[in-house]
Amino acid sequence: MQTQNRPLSPHLQVYKPQLTSIMSISHRASGVALSLGILLLVYWLAAAAAGPDAFARAQGIVGSFLGQVILFLFSYALFYHLCNGIRHLFWDAGKGFELKTAYASGYAVLAVSAALTLLVWIIAFATGGA
């Protein structure tokens, strides 16, 4: 039976990207990214348990330019997934499905997650300078 050439549904590429759909797939993407990011926490804790040399190596990686960029992206992904996850919990409770509300909560998630990311990095630079 020939099934290879059948059209696939839904045709994602014919849809205009919307705030709601992009935020939906971003929730999943950030979740996958956070699953990898939490390994950094495990490594950092294991290094602190292993001894001063291992910890210095871990701090060197985390403190490098690339390490700081990854940490920044990690923190934003974390706050995005946190805020959008709370949005999802309201949906699970059956609230906020109206189109206007869904867009308003979407913009609120973007604003609050960006603000929290900035706040946490301001605190980090104010306390430690890196």
Partner: protein, 126 residues
């Protein structure tokens, strides 16, 4: 012998055979992670620039130890539940799908145990 009728056994379980259990645990862990993650991010930010001794002293505080163990356990549980759905959605071939699911679940437990043991070693290792 079970005295339950077939409808009683089947009701609510659906095609996945475990009903809404997966969905529900994902939500419960999500709710638990809200305070844990907010605490963690701001605690680590305030720890910025701390040296080896102060990081260990921080991990060893009873409150921190409890929160870190809870965070690691709940976060990895939540993560593997989410990754399971991603794999089930995108890996349709049965063999690779089962292999990927087992790999992710084993790795999640392994990493969680490494993290928790690290925290406990710092807290109780002296």
């Amino acid at each position: 012998m079970s005295l339950r009728t077939p409808i009683k056994i089947a009701r609510g379980l659906g095609s996945a055979k475990d009903g809404v259990h997966h969905w529900w645990v994902q939500r419960v862990t999500a709710v638990a992670l809200v305070p844990l993650v907010v605490w963690f991010v701001f605690a680590v930010a305030s720890l910025s620039g701390a040296d080896y001794a102060s990081v260990r002293a921080w991990v060893g505080q009873p409150f921190t130890t409890v929160m870190l163990v809870l965070l690691i356990a709940v976060a990895f549980h939540h993560a593997q539940l989410g990754l399971q759905v991603v794999i089930e959605d995108y890996v349709s071939a049965k063999g690779p799908q089962i292999a990927a699911l087992i790999l992710v679940k084993f790795l999640a437990v392994l990493m969680a145990v490494i993290g928790i043991v690290a925290v406990l070693r710092i807290a109780f290792g002296g």
